[in-house]
Point group: D2
Chain length 350, copies 4
């Protein structure tokens, strides 16, 4: 199933802003990978691919890409509502599949994908919770595994975006699933991963519309807070925001019985500090992509290495290679409970 | 009502660890104050006072101190269960009163104190939420007032202690009111103060016993998390812990529509950084007293200045002089709701 | 020689900006001290003393203050050119003496003071290098003594001021001794103190006029850099500046064979961090007084405690109580060599 | 001169530790580059290349690589003493050349290379001062160009290594040129680059042997400090060390008339902070390669982009594409003056 030279032949599907980044990584920065195909229904995006990528075969129809015998794996960066069926179709076509988060905003759909995937155990199916591949998150995971903080029992994690006056996410509110399913889903996955995958028992959420009144009609908020109780006395606190002034500020803390770790607390853009009349400051990462650029790259390398049968540089012995479909299902389940709690004002038992 | 030289004549009541610190401040570091009396039922504490303080009159009975005509104000650092009645007694004796937090762990008692205090409008009655006097918290308050972060809508605040293997607080659990009434009450006051005193609408709390199993019999935890929803879409998140490895780590963040402020995020013990094989580190404040030593002093200065009719160095135009009895009542009300939520697993509507 | 109540009776001499601060400390914040007298030739300053201090006897002539039998110690905050003779006069009058740095800008004068002081071994004579009393510097000193960084061999230290458009120090240039004797003298003392008082062997200095052209006529600069070689292979690097944008930024590093310590690297004004569109920042201490307010207080307490025969709260077993006259002489000697090197362009051997 | 597909065909020369890293970058991470050849006299290194690189032609003799018509550019990661002649040979063979620093430790040799290169203006010849390509250094350079700190007049820069008990650099001392030519040469280049390439006028240096006594016989030290005076009142201070406990700590500061920039002050290994009984800490980059991994990559991309005639992603409009031979000559000239000053104890005029 590999190219003559042993490289995994990939087809990327979806060439929006994030899709382009994935495509460039797969094309130029992942040893062992060959980006041989790309698919988008948008002519401008295919034109970009023609220019920027190393001569992939271009498709406007996903079915055609799946029919391409020289594609070993597909890389889905498509609208969330398409993910579940596209994963199933890819597996049925015999292709490994990487899919951006979320798996689906519908639990039944999530379960349908899991059931189908169980029929293809030889195929890799991974959901893109890239934070697991960020070098700092990975370092923290390793330290926890080595016992550095004793038994971890509390994660505090946040996903906050620089305020976007343009209001893109307001227009997107009808299909985003709301702030918890769109943003906090990452923190949910991080909490489960760092706490040893405990089962969630109960959640509570609240929120505020700080700036974007347009969200009210969708029952959504631009700032949300939540608590998640897991079994075994483990806990998580989440914060999500669309309205930060200073940049994308995504960070997590893990608190254990013998110490704690903070990952990315100050979202420094780089190593520069500026001294002027306003004090001493650092600039911040403007967007999640700036913050997680390396994570996306390591994620791609780890996927390719996993398919090729080795741990590869992107993996750590004993560590999961990215989020499984089951992880993604659980993240959706918790995220939906958070949304329900936000809207009902009551704690939700899972 | 003042000493011949215009100084406010104070009597301190309770000379435990914290009482001693208050007494030393009042005796030596508060311009305009004279510590003329001290009261403790414990002989060792009175012996300490004889040695360490500038010749105060010593009492073993609170009633005798109240009968002392040359005492203008009392400073209560006594067990929480005594606060309410001692405040009432002091007011009836015509004395200004400062009382360490909490006002009471019983709402009816709180209300009884407020009713009584309403009869003595010329007497100052303040509850010791010293965090309001910490220079950094005050700076943040001033910045918020000046509009630096737009409209503040979310406070995240924590009170966490270095783990005490001795388990003092476990023995204290029967009367402490639990982690939220003992620790988080400070964060509740901070949140209300920084958010403009909104009314609380609903709370949810959860917790974990990380290390101190003995707490379970009291329905208490050694780590607690909580969300508080206020009116007008304002929110607070709280974290309290008895089990930190690195020190007392008390900090707060205020998030507004145009920026945010973090107060004390890294609880640096001082300005030293240590470079060695473990990396670059700073040591942390071991206890709340090390962290808030200055705050206790400014609090005392502000109380004395307030009684003497001026703003004094410790006050800021437009700023409240410390927490009122009504603030303390509200903090207790919210703290009790948190405890109820912790124990019921349900959101509590106020 | 003490007041009836055992307090050391002090007279402050010089009530300029810094003198006022010293006077307030001695009057209100130093247990065991009584500020009983103040001296200034300036009527406005004496008027301030009448208002702000606790009824000291006021003098316009230093000789009259020295004649006051009820003054045990004098506290000199006068122009540098007067220091030497005023110290000698105080000692001859049988009074302990604290004098702000520098001892003198003239080496012969320094030596004359040392010779005279040798005749009064029962009198305390201390030069005000307050940095030794800053809690962070003291913590570093203690850590070095305890072996935390192995053998210290290099100090990097700087004294830099926020730019003063008013150009006070340009007008002061004729008598200040230049940037190294005015500013770096503190860093010289810190380096000697932290490195175990090695003898200086050779220095080199250079400088630049970044903003204040008026300094050129005095052979002075507004930014100076220097290297000092001590015996035993110990080294120091110094930086002094009058032109910083962000505030007073006074910090030091000590590098040893097993680690290093940085003291005050980020001159944070307090514990607040501001998050806004410019990034994440902290404000800085605007002036040396804001930075060293505590140090001035501890310095005063240590002096009083030393005279009263005990170590006191401000001292550490094994630590020097402030800078001796010999330390001050050595600092002046090195500072003068730096000025000579700056002006000659050549290394100067001591 | 390019491969059929437009890629620049490179041959790497020298496959030691750093050479391997360069080779991997050129092979897998530089769009537009094809690593087609590699040269090493060491069989083990060629074996590594066979395994790790994408089938380059392998040579054990540099002359053979130069004779390869399908190599457009050579990438020299060879011993310093070979650099000058290898560059000349490459240019004569019609090949672009990138060479790791230093150009040469001999000024006459440097000048011979410059003279020869002047005959081949169509060929790119760059010396590898990778710090110019570090994203943080580049950001600082851009901020200075945009006027953010006014007129820059002082650079403080250091290159310090984690102590190597193995003493590799002691054995290397005979040929390294000493600490200033081996380490500080980077800081010299940074200072010239950030200050607008002023000419050096005078230098002074001093040093200490803190741990590695074996250096004394070579007139070398394991810690060195230096001052460099440039024309126009510009200054630099340098520190180099082989004996740090915490890691490789390479950082720079640029001070201007309206502000300052610090680049990399805390050499954080990543974004993790560890909270434990020792305080709050971050781990540090262990080696220069960990610190400058990205810089080496951007350096390679910029070289390739420059040869291909475009600015490319790695360049900034108005910014120099790496250090020229003339820059490298100047860095060597200043470094040699520092060594002379260290050994003579006198300032050296250039």
């Amino acid at each position: 199933m590999k190219a003559a030279n042993g490289r995994l032949r990939l087809g990327v599907v979806g060439l929006g802003r994030l899709g382009k980044r994935h495509a460039e990584n797969l094309a130029y920065r992942v040893p062992g990978a060959a980006l041989v195909a790309a698919c988008s229904p948008v002519e401008e995006e295919r034109a970009w691919a023609r220019e920027a990528l190393p001569e992939p075969r271009l498709y406007d129809d996903y079915a055609d890409l799946l029919a391409d015998r020289d594609v070993d794996a597909v890389w889905l960066v498509t609208p969330s509502s398409l993910h579940a069926q596209q994963i199933i179709d890819a597996l049925r076509a015999g292709k490994h599949v990487f899919c951006e988060k979320p798996l689906s905003l519908d639990l039944a759909e999530c379960e349908r994908v899991l059931a189908e995937a169980a029929r293809y155990p030889h195929l890799q199916a991974t959901i893109g919770f890239m934070r697991r591949f960020d070098p700092s998150y990975k370092d923290a995971f390793g330290k926890i595994e080595s016992g550095a903080i004793g038994r971890p029992f509390l994660v505090r994690s946040q996903t906050t975006d620089k305020n976007d006056d343009d209001g893109f996410f307001v227009r997107f509110a009808a299909t985003s699933g709301g702030i918890f399913l769109d943003c906090t889903v990452h923190d949910i996955d991080v909490a489960r991963w760092l706490l040893g995958k405990p089962r969630a028992k109960r959640v509570f959420a609240a929120g505020a519309v700080a700036l974007h009144e347009g969200l009210r009609e969708f029952g959504d908020v631009d700032n949300g807070v939540a608590i998640c109780e897991f079994e075994d006395g483990k806990l998580a606190m989440f914060y999500a925001s669309r309205t930060q002034a200073h940049g994308n500020d995504t960070h997590s803390e893990v608190i254990g019985t013998a110490g704690a770790l903070a990952i990315g607390h100050n979202p420094r853009a780089n190593r520069v500090e500026i001294y002027d009349a306003s004090g001493i400051r650092n600039e911040c990462t403007p967007s999640f992509f700036d913050r997680f650029e390396d994570a996306f790259l390591h994620e791609a390398r780890a996927f390719v290495a996993a398919v090729q049968g080795g741990g590869g540089a992107g993996t750590r012995t004993g560590a999961q290679v990215g989020a499984t479909l089951a992880d993604a299902l659980e993240a959706t389940r918790i995220g939906m409970a958070l949304r329900q709690s936000l809207q009902s004002g009551e704690a939700v038992v899972l």
